[in-house]
Symmetry: D2
Subunit: 164 residues, 4 copies
């Protein structure tokens, strides 16, 4: 259950950091992704972390989704985790699902940035990685300790959870 | 994939907190388990968290393991996560596996307490919960983003990881 | 050096928390101020914490500053710390200084909210409290481990520090 | 009020880190002191941080205290902060006070390591630095938001605070 696995980073809330100058949470490509630090804390040794995009998912367009699909196809690994903004995570999941890529793909992200106390980032990333080890080929989402097929992956904006 | 799930707390490093008086990390039953706080941060709504024991796993004896097995049997849920010290996690897993309980049981824990910065607690607990949603009946362990059958669950004391 | 001391909370970045719905850092009166939690962590027993305002300092007006001055006057204590947004901290300091209140008043705040990892909140609040114990009557600011008379208290927006 | 200042690191609880192998909090010279990271978070630019010792203060001996005194004397700065274990902080303060070094020396430390959530490290270090800017020559301690002359600096082991 432990063949090679690749994490594709696409941005989203999980990677936002506080910018004192803007007095806001922003995606800062210079600061980089939180994913390597989360893996180190989790004592998880994954062969590859690849930054495909670094965008708020509400700003993703068709070309961005095509780039994600291309990265899934190009990966030598059969199991992939994609970190993604929560706003359009379901849309990307269903897009990838329609392409029948023949791999196990698990999307995850966070409602609160990894840089903020009380974040759900480590919890969700750990969940996605464990699920990616055992799920069948297809496209899935892991949020809040739950596992969703692509068709049911949708943020409930009233509760801030993925309720399926 | 989202039927009811129960978490059984047994103690271990994941739940140690700093005691300024002892100037050490200790299991403090008064402070309680870190698990509810980890679930809240993970935005995870699990029906039941049950404290069965609150012990360093190196101090667990046969009666303790029997109490864990009894709690698994008594639970109305078919999917359980057990938080456990890393020292004898594998031993407890194999003990439970031998009892053929007919449920999906996933053990997890942490190498660094949830109360310490850079802990692996949330990462591992999130992993165990997601895996418990999808794994077949049997006894498993989730650590470091990996999933192990009971037979292969063992801490590598040289690396501080579960390497299978 | 340890007579009674009062902390007046007025809001500012120090008290911002992540709102997952707004996907932003906000002042949330319902969540309350970070100050009591910072004092608890600092093992500091201060008699009184009083919320006077809960505003971004860029939105403070003359009536707000008059309310702060009234709270300083009304306090039975002779030593006060005021938590305040950094944007107009200097302006409020000089306003209070002009009123010749006859008390030791120390303003402080944070460039990064207490709710974000790597915050300067505890560092600055601890500094303000210690300084308030020993400074002469007058109006002062403590930021970045430095102590400024009101006349010299000004954020350098290029460096994000108070450089005097 | 902002002339050059030096921080002398001597170890103590403030610098303890979790060692997963020992399953304990330890002083790890390889990991280094927490002080530079605390200063960075506090946005504090201090010219010099110097590690004199890296010991639990209960293990300090006369030679260690002589080394601290020598470092105070050798420093070109007139204002020094010394991070120190809480167990014998008062003893070191009174030893230094007896030497009449002619400088402003402020001792501080932590009851909970900087590496543990809810630490008092940043609060105390920020307090010591601000106090060191304004206190007269002599030896002082800053803990829990309070300022103590050397004669009154003593941990109350029942409360975990310095109560004077």
């Amino acid at each position: 259950m432990d063949g090679a696995l690749r994490i594709l980073v696409t941005g989203g809330t999980i990677d936002k950091v506080h910018d004192w100058s803007a007095e806001a949470l922003v995606l800062d490509a210079g600061a980089g992704s939180a994913v390597p630090g989360l893996l180190a804390a989790g004592r998880c040794q994954v062969a590859a972390v690849q930054v495909v995009l670094f965008k708020d998912s509400l700003e993703m367009d068709d070309a961005d989704r095509a780039a994600i699909a291309a990265a899934v196809r190009a990966a030598p690994e059969l199991r992939l985790v994609i970190t993604h903004g929560t706003g359009t995570m379901g849309m990307t999941a269903r897009y990838l699902d329609g392409l029948e890529l023949g791999k196990t793909v698990v999307l995850t992200g966070a409602m609160r940035p990894a840089s903020v106390l009380g974040s759900d980032a480590a919890f969700n990333l750990g969940g996605a990685l464990a699920a990616a080890r055992v799920l069948a080929p297809g496209v899935w989402g892991v949020m809040n300790g739950r596992v969703f097929p692509a068709a049911d992956l949708e943020k409930n904006t009233a509760t801030g959870r993925f309720d399926g």
